[in-house]
Protein backbone atom coordinates (compact mmCIF):
# COMPACT_ATOMS: atom_id res chain seq x y z
CA UNK A 1 0.00 0.00 0.00
CA UNK A 2 1.44 3.35 -1.01
CA UNK A 3 -1.22 6.06 -0.64
CA UNK A 4 -2.58 7.29 2.68
CA UNK A 5 -4.63 4.89 4.79
CA UNK A 6 -7.50 7.28 5.27
CA UNK A 7 -8.41 10.47 3.42
CA UNK A 8 -11.22 12.69 4.58
CA UNK A 9 -12.13 16.04 3.04
CA UNK A 10 -15.04 18.30 3.94
CA UNK A 11 -16.91 15.65 5.92
CA UNK A 12 -20.38 16.72 7.02
CA UNK A 13 -22.98 14.96 9.13
CA UNK A 14 -26.38 16.61 9.54
CA UNK A 15 -29.65 15.77 11.24
CA UNK A 16 -33.11 16.95 10.35
CA UNK A 17 -35.00 18.26 13.35
CA UNK A 18 -38.17 20.21 14.01
CA UNK A 19 -36.16 23.42 13.77
CA UNK A 20 -34.62 22.59 10.43
CA UNK A 21 -31.34 20.94 9.57
CA UNK A 22 -28.58 20.96 12.17
CA UNK A 23 -25.04 20.08 11.25
CA UNK A 24 -23.14 18.08 13.86
CA UNK A 25 -19.97 17.65 11.79
CA UNK A 26 -19.15 20.65 9.62
CA UNK A 27 -16.37 20.18 7.16
CA UNK A 28 -13.81 17.94 8.86
CA UNK A 29 -10.78 16.96 6.83
CA UNK A 30 -7.59 15.03 7.53
CA UNK A 31 -5.32 12.41 6.03
CA UNK A 32 -3.65 9.71 8.06
CA UNK A 33 -1.25 6.86 7.61
CA UNK A 34 -0.29 4.03 9.92
CA UNK A 35 0.00 6.23 12.96
CA UNK A 36 -1.74 7.01 16.22
CA UNK A 37 -4.08 9.90 15.60
CA UNK A 38 -6.03 11.43 18.48
CA UNK A 39 -9.36 13.24 18.14
CA UNK A 40 -10.19 15.31 21.21
CA UNK A 41 -13.24 17.36 22.04
CA UNK A 42 -16.03 17.84 24.55
CA UNK A 43 -19.43 16.20 24.32
CA UNK A 44 -21.23 17.33 21.20
CA UNK A 45 -18.05 18.33 19.37
CA UNK A 46 -18.69 15.74 16.65
CA UNK A 47 -15.68 13.55 17.44
CA UNK A 48 -17.61 10.28 17.71
CA UNK A 49 -19.69 10.99 14.61
CA UNK A 50 -16.47 11.64 12.69
CA UNK A 51 -15.16 8.22 13.76
CA UNK A 52 -18.43 6.50 12.93
CA UNK A 53 -18.63 8.16 9.52
CA UNK A 54 -15.58 6.18 8.44
CA UNK A 55 -17.55 2.96 8.98
CA UNK A 56 -20.75 4.62 7.76
CA UNK A 57 -22.39 3.52 10.99
CA UNK A 58 -24.43 6.59 11.83
CA UNK A 59 -27.68 7.00 13.77
CA UNK A 60 -30.88 6.73 11.70
CA UNK A 61 -31.68 9.96 9.92
CA UNK A 62 -28.09 11.17 9.77
CA UNK A 63 -27.12 12.72 6.46
CA UNK A 64 -23.53 12.13 5.47
CA UNK A 65 -21.63 13.98 2.78
CA UNK A 66 -17.99 14.58 1.98
CA UNK A 67 -15.83 15.79 -0.84
CA UNK A 68 -13.68 12.75 -0.22
CA UNK A 69 -13.99 9.82 2.18
CA UNK A 70 -11.59 7.08 1.18
CA UNK A 71 -9.93 4.19 2.95
CA UNK A 72 -6.87 2.74 1.24
CA UNK A 73 -8.00 4.32 -2.01
CA UNK A 74 -11.52 2.83 -1.76
CA UNK A 75 -14.26 5.45 -1.99
CA UNK A 76 -16.42 4.83 1.08
CA UNK A 77 -19.22 7.16 0.00
CA UNK A 78 -19.89 5.31 -3.24
CA UNK A 79 -19.28 1.85 -1.78
CA UNK A 80 -22.19 -0.59 -1.98
CA UNK A 81 -23.53 -1.93 1.35
CA UNK A 82 -21.92 -5.28 0.57
CA UNK A 83 -18.56 -3.59 0.03
CA UNK A 84 -18.94 -1.76 3.35
CA UNK A 85 -19.68 -5.05 5.10
CA UNK A 86 -16.46 -6.42 3.62
CA UNK A 87 -14.52 -3.57 5.18
CA UNK A 88 -16.23 -3.36 8.55
CA UNK A 89 -14.57 -5.54 11.13
CA UNK A 90 -12.14 -7.04 8.64
CA UNK A 91 -10.13 -4.02 7.58
CA UNK A 92 -11.57 -1.27 9.75
CA UNK A 93 -12.50 -2.18 13.31
CA UNK A 94 -14.02 -0.19 16.12
CA UNK A 95 -13.77 -0.41 19.91
CA UNK A 96 -16.35 1.49 21.95
CA UNK A 97 -16.33 2.93 25.42
CA UNK A 98 -18.04 0.41 27.61
CA UNK A 99 -17.48 -3.34 27.18
CA UNK A 100 -20.63 -3.93 29.24
CA UNK A 101 -22.73 -2.69 26.35
CA UNK A 102 -20.72 -4.02 23.44
CA UNK A 103 -20.29 -7.65 24.49
CA UNK A 104 -23.11 -10.14 24.10
CA UNK A 105 -24.16 -10.96 27.68
CA UNK A 106 -25.32 -14.52 26.93
CA UNK A 107 -22.28 -15.77 25.04
CA UNK A 108 -18.90 -16.58 26.53
CA UNK A 109 -16.08 -14.14 25.86
CA UNK A 110 -14.02 -16.65 23.88
CA UNK A 111 -16.97 -17.80 21.79
CA UNK A 112 -17.67 -14.21 20.76
CA UNK A 113 -14.10 -13.65 19.65
CA UNK A 114 -14.14 -16.90 17.67
CA UNK A 115 -17.48 -15.97 16.09
CA UNK A 116 -16.17 -12.56 15.03
CA UNK A 117 -13.14 -14.23 13.49
CA UNK A 118 -15.29 -16.74 11.58
CA UNK A 119 -17.41 -13.91 10.23
CA UNK A 120 -14.40 -12.55 8.40
CA UNK A 121 -12.07 -15.45 7.70
CA UNK A 122 -12.56 -18.87 6.20
CA UNK A 123 -11.54 -21.18 9.03
CA UNK A 124 -12.72 -24.24 10.94
CA UNK A 125 -14.27 -23.95 14.38
CA UNK A 126 -11.11 -25.37 15.93
CA UNK A 127 -8.93 -22.82 14.13
CA UNK A 128 -11.20 -20.00 15.27
CA UNK A 129 -10.93 -21.24 18.83
CA UNK A 130 -7.15 -21.33 18.64
CA UNK A 131 -7.12 -17.85 17.14
CA UNK A 132 -9.38 -16.54 19.94
CA UNK A 133 -7.08 -18.04 22.57
CA UNK A 134 -4.05 -16.55 20.87
CA UNK A 135 -5.73 -13.13 20.75
CA UNK A 136 -6.64 -13.29 24.44
CA UNK A 137 -2.99 -13.99 25.10
CA UNK A 138 -1.95 -11.10 22.84
CA UNK A 139 -3.96 -8.68 24.98
CA UNK A 140 -2.16 -10.09 28.03
CA UNK A 141 -4.91 -12.06 29.65
CA UNK A 142 -3.00 -14.38 31.94
CA UNK A 143 -5.19 -17.46 31.79
CA UNK A 144 -6.77 -17.45 28.32
CA UNK A 145 -8.27 -20.96 28.66
CA UNK A 146 -10.25 -19.92 31.73
CA UNK A 147 -11.29 -16.50 30.42
CA UNK A 148 -12.44 -18.07 27.12
CA UNK A 149 -15.25 -19.81 28.99
CA UNK A 150 -16.37 -16.83 31.11
CA UNK A 151 -19.48 -14.75 30.45
CA UNK A 152 -19.13 -10.95 30.21
CA UNK A 153 -20.65 -10.38 33.67
CA UNK A 154 -17.94 -12.59 35.16
CA UNK A 155 -15.05 -10.42 33.96
CA UNK A 156 -13.89 -7.00 35.18
CA UNK A 157 -14.21 -3.83 33.08
CA UNK A 158 -10.53 -3.92 32.15
CA UNK A 159 -10.67 -7.54 31.11
CA UNK A 160 -13.89 -6.97 29.15
CA UNK A 161 -12.24 -4.13 27.26
CA UNK A 162 -9.20 -6.29 26.53
CA UNK A 163 -11.55 -8.98 25.21
CA UNK A 164 -13.20 -6.38 22.95
CA UNK A 165 -9.80 -5.35 21.62
CA UNK A 166 -8.89 -9.02 21.10
CA UNK A 167 -12.11 -9.49 19.12
CA UNK A 168 -11.53 -6.43 16.96
CA UNK A 169 -7.92 -7.34 16.24
CA UNK A 170 -8.48 -11.02 15.41
CA UNK A 171 -9.11 -10.37 11.67
CA UNK A 172 -5.96 -8.18 11.57
CA UNK A 173 -7.53 -4.85 10.56
CA UNK A 174 -5.54 -2.03 8.96
CA UNK A 175 -7.33 0.66 10.90
CA UNK A 176 -8.72 0.59 14.43
CA UNK A 177 -11.11 3.29 15.57
CA UNK A 178 -11.21 3.42 19.36
CA UNK A 179 -13.93 5.66 20.79
CA UNK A 180 -13.13 6.44 24.43
CA UNK A 181 -11.77 2.91 24.86
CA UNK A 182 -10.40 3.50 28.33
CA UNK A 183 -12.73 6.12 29.82
CA UNK A 184 -14.67 3.58 31.87
CA UNK A 185 -11.49 2.07 33.29
CA UNK A 186 -9.32 2.80 36.31
CA UNK A 187 -6.12 4.72 35.58
CA UNK A 188 -3.81 1.76 36.07
CA UNK A 189 -5.98 -0.51 33.92
CA UNK A 190 -6.18 2.29 31.37
CA UNK A 191 -2.39 2.32 31.18
CA UNK A 192 -2.29 -1.43 30.58
CA UNK A 193 -4.92 -1.28 27.83
CA UNK A 194 -3.10 1.61 26.15
CA UNK A 195 0.19 -0.29 26.30
CA UNK A 196 -1.50 -3.18 24.47
CA UNK A 197 -2.83 -0.85 21.76
CA UNK A 198 0.54 0.87 21.53
CA UNK A 199 2.40 -2.41 21.00
CA UNK A 200 -0.15 -3.68 18.49
CA UNK A 201 0.09 -0.51 16.43
CA UNK A 202 3.87 -0.69 16.28
CA UNK A 203 4.06 -4.47 15.77
CA UNK A 204 1.34 -4.79 13.15
CA UNK A 205 1.75 -1.42 11.49
CA UNK A 206 -1.90 -0.60 12.09
CA UNK A 207 -3.46 2.87 11.99
CA UNK A 208 -5.28 3.96 15.12
CA UNK A 209 -7.84 6.71 15.63
CA UNK A 210 -8.12 7.38 19.35
CA UNK A 211 -11.20 9.42 20.21
CA UNK A 212 -11.30 10.91 23.70
CA UNK A 213 -12.28 13.89 25.81
CA UNK A 214 -9.01 13.65 27.73
CA UNK A 215 -6.57 16.00 26.03
CA UNK A 216 -3.60 15.25 28.25
CA UNK A 217 -4.01 11.50 27.98
CA UNK A 218 -4.36 11.63 24.20
CA UNK A 219 -1.31 13.84 23.87
CA UNK A 220 0.76 11.45 25.96
CA UNK A 221 -0.31 8.51 23.79
CA UNK A 222 -0.78 9.68 20.20
CA UNK A 223 1.52 11.13 17.55
CA UNK A 224 -0.84 13.84 16.38
CA UNK A 225 -4.02 15.31 17.88
CA UNK A 226 -7.00 16.92 16.17
CA UNK A 227 -8.93 19.23 18.48
CA UNK A 228 -12.62 19.45 17.60
CA UNK A 229 -15.08 22.14 18.60
CA UNK A 230 -18.62 22.62 17.31
CA UNK A 231 -18.26 20.01 14.57
CA UNK A 232 -14.98 21.33 13.18
CA UNK A 233 -11.29 20.70 13.66
CA UNK A 234 -10.06 23.94 15.19
CA UNK A 235 -6.45 22.87 15.55
CA UNK A 236 -4.07 20.02 14.76
CA UNK A 237 -1.19 19.70 17.18
CA UNK A 238 1.90 17.58 17.33
CA UNK A 239 1.27 15.56 20.49
CA UNK A 240 4.70 16.28 21.95
CA UNK A 241 4.14 20.00 21.49
CA UNK A 242 0.81 20.31 23.24
CA UNK A 243 2.19 23.19 25.29
CA UNK A 244 2.64 25.16 22.08
CA UNK A 245 -1.00 24.82 21.05
CA UNK A 246 -2.24 28.12 19.65
CA UNK A 247 -6.00 27.95 19.47
CA UNK A 248 -7.72 29.61 22.47
CA UNK A 249 -10.05 26.60 22.78
CA UNK A 250 -7.16 24.13 23.07
CA UNK A 251 -5.37 26.42 25.49
CA UNK A 252 -8.58 26.92 27.46
CA UNK A 253 -9.15 23.16 27.73
CA UNK A 254 -5.64 22.72 29.09
CA UNK A 255 -5.98 25.59 31.54
CA UNK A 256 -9.23 24.44 33.13
CA UNK A 257 -7.85 21.04 34.16
CA UNK A 258 -6.96 20.83 37.83
CA UNK A 259 -3.40 19.62 38.32
CA UNK A 260 -1.56 18.29 41.34
CA UNK A 261 0.75 21.28 41.31
CA UNK A 262 -2.01 23.76 40.66
CA UNK A 263 -2.83 24.78 44.21
CA UNK A 264 -6.35 25.50 45.40
CA UNK A 265 -6.98 28.79 43.62
CA UNK A 266 -9.82 29.30 41.18
CA UNK A 267 -9.57 27.15 38.09
CA UNK A 268 -9.69 28.98 34.79
CA UNK A 269 -13.04 28.55 33.09
CA UNK A 270 -13.55 28.43 29.39
CA UNK A 271 -14.85 31.61 27.81
CA UNK A 272 -16.36 30.41 24.56
CA UNK A 273 -15.96 32.72 21.61
CA UNK A 274 -18.70 32.43 18.95
CA UNK A 275 -16.03 33.11 16.35
CA UNK A 276 -14.56 29.62 17.01
CA UNK A 277 -17.59 28.18 15.23
CA UNK A 278 -16.85 30.00 12.00
CA UNK A 279 -13.25 31.25 11.87
CA UNK A 280 -11.12 29.39 9.34
Amino acid sequence: MTGPLLEIADLRVAFRSARGISEAVRGVGFTMGREKLGIVGESGSGKSLTGRSVLRLLPPGAMLSARRLAFDGIDLLGAAPSAMRELRGRRIAMVMQDPKFSLNPVMTVGHQIAEAYLAHKRASAAEARDKALAMLEAVRIRDPQRVYGLYPHEVSGGMGQRAMIAMMLAPDPDLLIADEPTSALDVTVQMQVLAILDDLVSERGMGLIFISHDLRLVASFCDRVLVMYGGRVVETVDARRLGEARHPYTRGLLACLPTLEGGEGELATLQRDPAWLTAP
Binding site: S43, T188, M191, L194, L257, T259, L260
Partner: protein, 254 residues
Amino acid sequence: MIEVDRLTVEFDETRAVDAVSFRVEKGEAFGIVGESGSGKSTVLRALSGLNQHWSGGMVIDGEEQSQHRTRAFHRHLQMVFQDPYASLHPRHTVDRALAEPLRVHGVGDREPRILRALREVGLGPEHRFRYPHQLSGGQRQRVAIARALILEPRVLLLDEPSSSLDVSVQAEILNLLQRLRRERTLTYVLVSHNLAVVAHLCSRVAVMNAGRFVEELDVAALRARRTQHPYTAQLLRASEGYDRAAAAALVTFD
Protein backbone atom coordinates in the same frame (compact mmCIF):
# COMPACT_ATOMS: atom_id res chain seq x y z
CA MET B 1 -16.92 17.30 62.86
CA ILE B 2 -16.57 13.68 61.74
CA GLU B 3 -14.80 10.93 63.63
CA VAL B 4 -14.74 7.44 62.24
CA ASP B 5 -13.21 4.60 64.22
CA ARG B 6 -12.55 1.21 62.67
CA LEU B 7 -15.47 1.41 60.27
CA THR B 8 -16.15 -1.96 58.66
CA VAL B 9 -18.74 -2.78 56.01
CA GLU B 10 -19.44 -6.34 54.95
CA PHE B 11 -21.60 -7.65 52.13
CA ASP B 12 -22.20 -11.39 52.51
CA GLU B 13 -18.69 -12.82 52.39
CA THR B 14 -16.88 -9.72 51.19
CA ARG B 15 -15.39 -7.09 53.42
CA ALA B 16 -15.78 -3.94 51.33
CA VAL B 17 -14.44 -1.61 54.01
CA ASP B 18 -11.96 -2.97 56.50
CA ALA B 19 -11.40 -1.07 59.78
CA VAL B 20 -11.05 2.42 58.34
CA SER B 21 -10.46 5.32 60.78
CA PHE B 22 -10.25 9.06 60.11
CA ARG B 23 -11.13 12.48 61.49
CA VAL B 24 -12.39 15.51 59.63
CA GLU B 25 -12.38 18.93 61.32
CA LYS B 26 -15.14 21.48 60.93
CA GLY B 27 -14.73 23.40 57.66
CA GLU B 28 -12.17 20.96 56.33
CA ALA B 29 -12.31 19.11 53.02
CA PHE B 30 -11.14 15.52 53.30
CA GLY B 31 -10.57 13.42 50.20
CA ILE B 32 -10.67 9.68 49.62
CA VAL B 33 -9.06 8.45 46.40
CA GLY B 34 -9.06 4.94 45.09
CA GLU B 35 -9.92 2.81 42.10
CA SER B 36 -13.24 1.12 41.45
CA GLY B 37 -14.05 -1.49 44.05
CA SER B 38 -11.67 0.02 46.60
CA GLY B 39 -14.58 0.75 48.97
CA LYS B 40 -14.42 4.55 48.82
CA SER B 41 -18.08 5.07 47.92
CA THR B 42 -19.10 2.49 50.51
CA VAL B 43 -17.46 4.61 53.22
CA LEU B 44 -19.54 7.56 52.05
CA ARG B 45 -22.76 5.57 51.97
CA ALA B 46 -22.16 4.32 55.51
CA LEU B 47 -21.53 7.91 56.69
CA SER B 48 -24.73 9.13 55.05
CA GLY B 49 -26.88 6.36 56.49
CA LEU B 50 -27.69 4.92 53.05
CA ASN B 51 -25.89 1.75 54.05
CA GLN B 52 -26.85 0.35 57.42
CA HIS B 53 -24.69 -2.75 57.42
CA TRP B 54 -21.66 -1.28 59.09
CA SER B 55 -19.88 -1.70 62.37
CA GLY B 56 -17.38 0.43 64.26
CA GLY B 57 -17.65 3.88 65.75
CA MET B 58 -18.98 6.98 64.04
CA VAL B 59 -19.36 10.44 65.61
CA ILE B 60 -20.78 13.22 63.46
CA ASP B 61 -21.15 16.74 64.80
CA GLY B 62 -20.57 15.53 68.35
CA GLU B 63 -23.20 12.81 68.22
CA GLU B 64 -22.54 9.10 68.28
CA GLN B 65 -24.30 7.61 65.26
CA SER B 66 -26.16 4.33 65.15
CA GLN B 67 -27.20 2.38 62.05
CA HIS B 68 -30.49 4.26 61.95
CA ARG B 69 -30.52 8.01 61.54
CA THR B 70 -32.99 10.61 62.63
CA ARG B 71 -34.66 13.09 60.34
CA ALA B 72 -32.69 15.90 62.01
CA PHE B 73 -29.44 14.12 61.08
CA HIS B 74 -30.23 14.31 57.38
CA ARG B 75 -30.81 18.01 57.66
CA HIS B 76 -27.21 18.47 58.65
CA LEU B 77 -25.61 16.00 56.29
CA GLN B 78 -26.38 15.82 52.59
CA MET B 79 -24.92 14.00 49.62
CA VAL B 80 -24.16 14.86 45.98
CA PHE B 81 -23.86 11.95 43.55
CA GLN B 82 -21.79 11.39 40.44
CA ASP B 83 -24.45 11.35 37.77
CA PRO B 84 -26.93 14.20 38.04
CA TYR B 85 -29.09 12.62 35.37
CA ALA B 86 -29.62 9.56 37.55
CA SER B 87 -30.00 11.46 40.81
CA LEU B 88 -32.66 13.91 39.63
CA HIS B 89 -36.17 12.67 38.96
CA PRO B 90 -36.75 12.98 35.20
CA ARG B 91 -40.39 14.01 35.60
CA HIS B 92 -39.89 16.49 38.41
CA THR B 93 -39.07 20.10 37.66
CA VAL B 94 -36.13 21.83 39.33
CA ASP B 95 -38.66 23.58 41.55
CA ARG B 96 -40.13 20.30 42.72
CA ALA B 97 -36.69 18.75 43.30
CA LEU B 98 -35.73 21.69 45.49
CA ALA B 99 -39.09 21.91 47.30
CA GLU B 100 -39.13 18.26 48.32
CA PRO B 101 -36.48 18.40 51.05
CA LEU B 102 -38.19 21.52 52.45
CA ARG B 103 -41.53 19.72 52.55
CA VAL B 104 -40.06 16.57 54.12
CA HIS B 105 -38.46 18.63 56.86
CA GLY B 106 -41.40 20.98 57.30
CA VAL B 107 -39.48 24.12 56.41
CA GLY B 108 -41.45 27.22 55.47
CA ASP B 109 -40.51 30.14 53.20
CA ARG B 110 -40.07 27.78 50.31
CA GLU B 111 -40.23 30.36 47.55
CA PRO B 112 -37.36 32.61 48.75
CA ARG B 113 -35.29 29.60 49.77
CA ILE B 114 -35.58 28.01 46.33
CA LEU B 115 -34.70 31.26 44.58
CA ARG B 116 -31.73 31.79 46.87
CA ALA B 117 -30.48 28.22 46.41
CA LEU B 118 -30.63 28.63 42.63
CA ARG B 119 -28.77 31.93 42.80
CA GLU B 120 -26.05 30.45 45.00
CA VAL B 121 -25.23 27.74 42.49
CA GLY B 122 -25.20 30.17 39.60
CA LEU B 123 -28.63 29.40 38.13
CA GLY B 124 -31.38 31.93 37.48
CA PRO B 125 -35.13 31.95 38.09
CA GLU B 126 -35.57 30.95 34.43
CA HIS B 127 -34.25 27.49 35.30
CA ARG B 128 -36.76 26.96 38.09
CA PHE B 129 -39.53 25.27 36.12
CA ARG B 130 -37.38 23.24 33.77
CA TYR B 131 -37.10 19.47 33.69
CA PRO B 132 -33.68 17.78 33.96
CA HIS B 133 -33.62 16.97 30.23
CA GLN B 134 -33.91 20.69 29.48
CA LEU B 135 -30.66 21.37 31.35
CA SER B 136 -27.03 20.70 30.43
CA GLY B 137 -24.94 18.27 32.48
CA GLY B 138 -23.29 21.10 34.40
CA GLN B 139 -26.62 22.78 35.14
CA ARG B 140 -28.03 19.49 36.39
CA GLN B 141 -25.12 19.04 38.76
CA ARG B 142 -25.72 22.60 39.98
CA VAL B 143 -29.33 21.63 40.74
CA ALA B 144 -28.12 18.56 42.65
CA ILE B 145 -25.80 20.80 44.69
CA ALA B 146 -28.61 23.30 45.29
CA ARG B 147 -30.85 20.50 46.51
CA ALA B 148 -28.15 19.30 48.90
CA LEU B 149 -27.63 22.84 50.23
CA ILE B 150 -31.24 23.95 50.57
CA LEU B 151 -31.57 22.56 54.10
CA GLU B 152 -28.37 24.38 55.08
CA PRO B 153 -26.41 21.29 56.10
CA ARG B 154 -23.03 21.39 57.84
CA VAL B 155 -21.56 18.40 56.06
CA LEU B 156 -21.62 17.63 52.35
CA LEU B 157 -20.66 14.18 51.09
CA LEU B 158 -19.48 14.36 47.48
CA ASP B 159 -19.24 11.16 45.43
CA GLU B 160 -17.32 11.92 42.21
CA PRO B 161 -19.25 15.18 41.78
CA SER B 162 -17.49 16.25 38.60
CA SER B 163 -16.37 13.09 36.85
CA SER B 164 -19.31 12.77 34.47
CA LEU B 165 -18.82 16.33 33.22
CA ASP B 166 -16.76 17.85 30.42
CA VAL B 167 -13.52 19.35 31.70
CA SER B 168 -14.60 22.96 31.16
CA VAL B 169 -17.80 22.30 33.14
CA GLN B 170 -15.86 20.37 35.76
CA ALA B 171 -13.76 23.48 36.43
CA GLU B 172 -16.93 25.52 37.03
CA ILE B 173 -18.37 22.95 39.44
CA LEU B 174 -15.09 22.63 41.36
CA ASN B 175 -14.88 26.42 41.68
CA LEU B 176 -18.46 26.49 42.92
CA LEU B 177 -17.81 23.80 45.55
CA GLN B 178 -14.65 25.59 46.68
CA ARG B 179 -16.47 28.90 47.08
CA LEU B 180 -19.46 27.38 48.93
CA ARG B 181 -17.24 25.61 51.42
CA ARG B 182 -15.39 28.81 52.27
CA GLU B 183 -18.49 30.98 52.48
CA ARG B 184 -20.50 28.59 54.62
CA THR B 185 -17.72 26.81 56.54
CA LEU B 186 -19.00 23.53 55.19
CA THR B 187 -17.24 20.25 55.91
CA TYR B 188 -16.66 18.07 52.84
CA VAL B 189 -15.84 14.43 52.39
CA LEU B 190 -15.00 14.01 48.71
CA VAL B 191 -14.59 10.67 47.01
CA SER B 192 -12.89 10.52 43.61
CA HIS B 193 -10.65 8.45 41.41
CA ASN B 194 -9.03 11.64 40.15
CA LEU B 195 -6.02 12.68 42.23
CA ALA B 196 -5.87 16.17 40.73
CA VAL B 197 -9.51 16.87 41.62
CA VAL B 198 -8.96 15.71 45.19
CA ALA B 199 -5.74 17.71 45.51
CA HIS B 200 -7.55 20.77 44.24
CA LEU B 201 -10.41 20.71 46.76
CA CYS B 202 -9.01 18.92 49.80
CA SER B 203 -6.36 19.60 52.40
CA ARG B 204 -5.93 15.96 53.42
CA VAL B 205 -6.26 12.81 51.36
CA ALA B 206 -6.64 9.14 52.21
CA VAL B 207 -5.63 6.61 49.58
CA MET B 208 -7.82 3.55 49.60
CA ASN B 209 -7.21 0.11 48.13
CA ALA B 210 -9.04 -3.16 48.71
CA GLY B 211 -11.12 -1.78 51.58
CA ARG B 212 -8.26 -0.25 53.55
CA PHE B 213 -6.64 3.14 53.83
CA VAL B 214 -3.12 2.41 52.64
CA GLU B 215 -1.97 5.92 53.51
CA GLU B 216 -3.20 9.29 54.64
CA LEU B 217 -1.27 12.37 53.59
CA ASP B 218 -1.69 16.11 53.43
CA VAL B 219 -2.01 17.76 50.08
CA ALA B 220 1.46 19.32 50.22
CA ALA B 221 2.99 15.85 50.54
CA LEU B 222 0.86 14.67 47.63
CA ARG B 223 1.97 17.59 45.46
CA ALA B 224 5.60 16.93 46.33
CA ARG B 225 4.99 13.20 45.67
CA ARG B 226 6.23 12.36 49.18
CA THR B 227 4.33 9.10 49.37
CA GLN B 228 4.83 6.35 51.93
CA HIS B 229 3.12 3.48 50.16
CA PRO B 230 4.10 2.14 46.72
CA TYR B 231 0.40 1.93 45.78
CA THR B 232 0.08 5.70 46.08
CA ALA B 233 3.23 6.21 44.01
CA GLN B 234 1.85 3.94 41.29
CA LEU B 235 -1.50 5.72 41.27
CA LEU B 236 0.27 9.06 40.95
CA ARG B 237 2.32 7.87 38.01
CA ALA B 238 -0.63 6.31 36.22
CA SER B 239 -2.62 9.52 36.50
CA GLU B 240 0.08 11.55 34.78
CA GLY B 241 -0.66 10.21 31.33
CA TYR B 242 0.54 7.32 29.22
CA ASP B 243 4.07 6.08 29.66
CA ARG B 244 5.08 2.74 28.15
CA ALA B 245 7.74 2.05 30.79
CA ALA B 246 5.39 2.89 33.66
CA ALA B 247 2.75 0.61 32.15
CA ALA B 248 5.22 -2.26 32.14
CA ALA B 249 6.11 -1.66 35.77
CA LEU B 250 2.53 -1.84 37.09
CA VAL B 251 1.85 -4.30 39.89
CA THR B 252 -1.32 -5.36 41.69
CA PHE B 253 -1.64 -4.60 45.39
CA ASP B 254 -3.97 -6.57 47.63
